[in-house]
């Protein structure tokens, strides 16, 4: 048993740190640090820097443009990126890439992977539908073969960043008679094809990241089918696995703790400051200790992976505990602001452009992040579903 990283890994860590200090644009970092969403153009600006460095796709094999990092290096890099408040990698890198690499045709790989690396295409994920949220087997969007095209009809829901996307990877039903999980195919849709309509869904945080996507007689060339017809479920499950990486969000939570301490030291309460409140401090301490346990669990599971064990359940545990800690911290952040948690930035209202200058500078983004963060226990498999998964595997 040994907690220390090797000299080589520590040198790597320093290299990542240096890169981030030198190349991560300050404006993008500051938006991330506040918990604001980074706009599409800013994201692409950053991705081009990343790609220049060759670090766009650490999770891809080297032959397709991956970094060739070891498991440990991937862990270290992800931690450093998060600590530096860099934007998270997007769907093309994290989700589509691995599926194409595993199941795509040579032509698909040759066409799409480089475009992802160069940020030529922004991808969105077309999975959820009304009536098929946590339960994807019930999806209804139909794709009917017509010559060398599929004609797609249906509706996708909760489609993050569809309004920025050039392309969508999408689950569609190709065999309506097959049972639940069978009969689903994985296809790639150009978002500029006629018949696609995107309607924004405004979140509780008044922000726009989610969309409904309506597909009406959308003609998709058959070469955009990934792998075999009716095998889409297999590929999607493979993806869901990938999605669960780095779910603990330890570095992000550390950042929230640091922010909380700054705010609590500034907020006056009577003669002292909020940080002097024993009750507030105790609740923060309790979360800090929980965060330690989470971080060490992540390391312990990484060690298992390094020893060749398959990781499955562990991701669910990290996701549940990680999201609960984040919500706890965000709740404390809101509480720390006192009355200044009530004013709420809101891009749909006719407000002064310098509106955000109300209240202390550090309040920026906190409530938005809190509201957005409530979704952390819902999206990507609600915590209830995660507990079901754990129960099924551990209690069977």
């Amino acid at each position: 048993m040994n907690l220390v990283f090797s000299e080589a890994d520590l040198a790597f860590q320093q290299e990542v740190r240096n890169f981030l200090v030198q190349r991560l644009p300050v404006d993008i970092r500051d938006r991330c640090a506040c918990g604001y969403i980074v706009g599409n153009e800013d994201l692409i600006r950053w991705q081009k820097i990343l790609n220049e460095q060759g670090w766009m796709a650490p999770n891809w094999p080297v032959e397709y443009g991956g970094t060739g990092w070891s498991l440990t290096q991937k862990y270290i890099a992800a931690r450093e990126f998060a600590s530096a408040c860099a934007p998270l990698p997007t769907f093309g890198i994290t989700m589509l890439g691995p599926v194409l690499i595993a199941f795509g045709s040579d032509a698909q790989k040759a066409r799409y992977l480089p475009r992802i690396l160069r940020s030529d295409d922004v991808w969105c994920q077309g999975y959820s539908e009304p009536g098929a949220g946590s339960d994807l087997a019930r999806l209804k969007t139909r794709a009917v073969r017509d010559g060398d095209q599929y004609i797609v009809n249906g509706q996708k829901l909760w489609t993050s960043y569809a309004h920025w996307a050039d392309m969508m990877f999408c689950l569609v039903r190709t065999d309506p008679d097959a049972k639940a999980q069978d009969g689903i195919s994985f296809i790639l849709i150009d978002m500029k094809i006629p018949g696609i309509e995107i309607r924004p869904i405004i979140g509780l945080d008044m922000g726009h990241t989610l969309n409904e996507v309506f597909l009406e007689d959308v003609r998709v060339p058959v070469e955009n089918l990934v792998g075999e017809e009716n095998k889409g479920w297999t590929y999607a499950k493979y993806l869901l696995q990938k999605e669960r990486n780095f779910v603990a969000r330890v570095a992000q939570s550390r950042h929230l703790v640091a922010r909380l301490k700054i705010i609590a030291a500034e907020q006056r309460v009577g003669d002292g400051h909020l940080i002097d409140s024993a009750d507030f401090k105790r609740r923060l301490t309790s979360l800090e200790i929980d965060l330690r346990a989470l971080e060490y669990s992540e390391l312990r599971y990484l060690s298992r992976e390094l020893h060749g064990e398959k990781i499955g359940l562990e991701s669910s545990i990290l996701k549940i505990k990680g999201s609960e800690i984040q919500q706890g911290l965000k709740k404390l952040l809101v509480e720390s602001l006192g009355m200044y948690s009530a004013p709420y930035e809101n891009d749909m209202m006719p407000i002064d452009s310098d509106y955000l200058s109300i209240g202390p500078q550090h309040m920026q983004g906190i409530m938005a992040e809190h509201l957005y963060g409530r979704a952390a226990t819902i999206f990507g498999g609600s915590n209830e579903i995660q507990r079901n998964i754990l129960a099924r595997q551990l209690l069977r």
């Binding site: 019930r138 979140g203 006056r268 009355m339 009530a342 109300i358 409530m367 409530r374």
Partner: protein, 379 residues
């Protein structure tokens, strides 16, 4: 010992329930929220006609001599519909302050205007450094030959930009945070030296920060006596807390009903999600929290009406208990709705946001727990 409503009280509640049902479906509320005022003047006139604006005031000023119990009945019913009209700031808080400190002449002039729906008020009693403490007043009002000069910064004044007049607490003497030397002034929006920054709040209402820069006030702007307003502010806050807790109770009941109806019909894995035991128990926990909140709110209103010696402890305890219950209900309601609960287009999230706001307004759980502990030591 009786928690049931009298015949009159039931009629009052039913009339507001009817108003909410017909005038406040969620779609209408969404329109009202995006209107310039953020509430409906037509509705406000209706409130006046129905006599709801007159409820808590003395009969001699055109009121109906209602008690905190009647206010709680109104607020609970309004809470079910997340009603946006400024009843709390104008009638309960502004009106409560006038009733507590204003001179007979001032009352005779102002209260009938409130009752008629012709005067809306906002109360500016907090400052950036004060957190929730009404005694922490740095805004100053210095005496001049014919009045006062007001300077300072008041923060997060609900309805600050829509109200006809503002009631402002300021220090006429005494050290920062001293309980002595705080006075209340009533002023118009358009005085020289008053500036304002307006913004929407979490729960979709308007609020403002006020900046007073050597504002000349006539002597008549002083409400009641000079330097002794703190107790009146505190007792007005007691009434406001009772009212806002009742509002939360109404909002919790509605959020629980909406959630129950949703989980009965929403299907996943081929069955209604309400058939999953974990979701059932979570809803039961929300329901029980709402029950506890309702009991606290009812008792607080009665204690305040009866001027019971336990009132002060009960105000703090109720704000804590209702705040906690509101978060359990609000968070649970959004969580049980899944993705839908996270959108602005569906009612349940708005209940959550209002319940979250109520937990903060007039002192959060931490603040009132501390108050409870201090009061217990004194008692």
């Amino acid at each position: 010992m009786d928690f049931e409503l009298s015949e009159e009280q039931r009629l009052l509640r039913d009339s507001i329930d009817r108003f909410v049902k017909s005038e406040y479906p969620f779609s209408t509320r969404q329109e009202i929220i995006f209107s310039t005022l953020g509430y409906s003047e037509k509705n406000w006139k209706l409130f006046a006609e129905m006599g709801w604006l007159a409820l808590p005031f003395d009969a001699q000023y055109g009121g109906f001599d209602g008690s905190p119990v009647e206010t709680a009945i109104v607020m609970e019913a309004l809470g079910r519909g997340l009603v946006l009209e400024p009843y709390l700031s104008t009638v309960v808080m502004g009106g409560g302050l006038l009733a507590a400190v204003a001179s007979h002449d001032q009352k005779e002039r102002l209260i009938p205007q409130i009752v008629a729906g012709e005067l809306t008020l906002a109360v500016a009693y907090l400052e950036p450094q004060s957190r929730f403490d009404p005694a922490d007043v740095e805004t100053s009002a210095k005496s001049t030959a014919d009045g006062f000069v007001l300077s300072g910064h008041k923060c997060v004044v609900y309805q600050g930009c829509t109200a006809d007049k503002i009631i402002v607490s300021a220090r006429t003497h005494g050290a920062d945070r001293s309980r002595e030397g705080i006075s209340l002034f009533i002023l118009d929006q358009d005085l020289q030296g008053v500036s304002r920054k307006d913004y929407k709040t979490l729960d979709g209402q308007w609020a403002s920060d006020f900046f007073f820069s050597d504002v000349n006030l006539p002597a008549s702007a002083l409400l009641g006596q000079k330097g002794v307003a703190l107790e009146a502010i505190e007792s007005a806050l007691d009434l406001v807390i009772s009212a806002v807790c009742a509002e939360a109770v109404g909002a919790m009941a509605a959020a629980n009903d909406i959630t129950r109806d949703y989980i009965r019909v929403r299907e996943q894995f081929g069955v209604p999600i309400g058939s999953f035991q974990v979701l059932q128990h979570r809803w039961v926990d929300m329901y029980m929290e709402a029950e506890m909140a309702k009991s606290m709110s009812d008792v607080l209103a009665m204690r305040l009406r009866d001027r019971d010696e336990d009132s002060a402890l009960m105000v703090a305890a109720t704000k804590v208990r209702v705040g906690k219950a509101g978060l359990v209900v609000g968070q649970g309601a959004t969580q049980l709705h899944g993705g839908v609960g996270m959108t602005n287009e569906y009612a349940v999230g708005h209940y959550y946001k209002r319940l979250m706001t109520i937990d903060i307004l007039f002192g959060n759980q931490d603040y009132h727990c501390s108050r409870y502990e201090q009061l217990e030591i004194v008692a």
